[in-house]
Symmetry: C2
Subunit: 277 residues, 2 copies
Amino acid sequence: MILVNGECREHIEISDRGFQYGDGLFETIAVINGQPVFLDRHIDRLNAGCRRLYIPFPGTELLAFEAQKISEHSSNAVLKLILTRGSGGRGYRQPDVIQATRVLSLHPFPDYPGSYKEQGIVARFCDTRLGLNPALAGIKHLNRLEQILARAEWTDPAIQEGIMLDINGHVIEGTMTNLFYVKNHTLYTSVLTFSGVAGIIRGILMATSSEQGIFALEHIFTQDELLSADEVFVCNSIVGIWPVRQIENIRFPVGEITRQLQNCLAHFQNEAASGGL
Amino acid sequence: MILVNGECREHIEISDRGFQYGDGLFETIAVINGQPVFLDRHIDRLNAGCRRLYIPFPGTELLAFEAQKISEHSSNAVLKLILTRGSGGRGYRQPDVIQATRVLSLHPFPDYPGSYKEQGIVARFCDTRLGLNPALAGIKHLNRLEQILARAEWTDPAIQEGIMLDINGHVIEGTMTNLFYVKNHTLYTSVLTFSGVAGIIRGILMATSSEQGIFALEHIFTQDELLSADEVFVCNSIVGIWPVRQIENIRFPVGEITRQLQNCLAHFQNEAASGGL
């Protein structure tokens, strides 16, 4: 099922600037027991992205209503919300009056093996480097060619994620996840000033870590620092937290802090799935 | 009129990766007297972009046939050719078998005043900086948010183009044009290794300049170097060459080399418009 500006449709106008230029934003939201999980946070991030791109925000109530309506009969699904600048304008110039296009679509929940969450995944380093784009860093916009090129580097099903560095050699994130590591009981994740997407789960983990007695830092780090970590994990709204048990030929244990944060996140998810938002 | 994979349509599937991720390429081609001008060069660049993005190239003959068919009854128009990775795949991962989507659409030729070509245009420096993305630099891909943010910076109709710097402060290009300047009888344009689009007209001018007795160089330069130029111009496939008569409050004459290259380009365009390709 797909809702385009509130109506059931399968198609979009070719003139839509989302298609013409990738001129828009998106959110990928887990639906559990008919509830879009962390919906308030996703809508807040979309709103923040709208401010960065000067796209008029359709309003929290409208988006929440449509998201809940499309999700209500699904036990488990992925809800994708795309918001574009709509049609019009002349070339790159936006129209004087912007009528944003919102597209909500429901997709099957991916059938990842339970072992990914329990025993962890295998990751590789991608050759494709993330550019440095401060104007776009942090937000979840529709210009995603770098991630596509990185994900096209491997087809081996034994590898579940690719880790991307920026052009300066700093580790930024996975192709579809944010990356964390633990070293000497401190939790580190990348600074996203020049590249990367500030994920919802990343935000939740950074906010909750101090309550959990875990000291967490945004940090600029290299491959070597990552490979000397005590624990490594990746996260996003669909997979939750996946421990990383191997990067290239280096192995990592599934450590205590990773397990603690998995439990903590599962608790938040259950709350969100039963109570709404 | 719009042709989608050879059929008349106004819409595209929402699942198309062009809409989902900006996963594709485009060309903007001038149509004069029913002929797409420099069509062979546009198709060659699209082919080069396909190799960079691993999108299967639909073939020169098919694209040329469709481009000529859609253009044949137009005296003056703009032909836009979009090629995407089509639908399918899982998230950023491309499908095992890629069925590219090609979209050809015809648009009215913009009604730019003749004075832009004769007396020149006024340009400003944009605040939005181009990121450094070597994986994507040079090709005309569908990830164009930087250009949209830059073009949204001004609405004053007295300013016709915005000049974009990269995050290191090097001058790269206009929001919709490539940029050249002349200093001491030498022609300079930006190096496009980290940012920017290698335009068709830029390529023609670089190739023809030595035949014209003009020494031309790709060069890394700053705002100050540009502002000390003897002549400045911008170019693209639709506007041809526009002299720049003013940047911010600095004025430039419309110089001899700019006029010489305008005449040379007009000659090539007339040849292409009368003889095909």
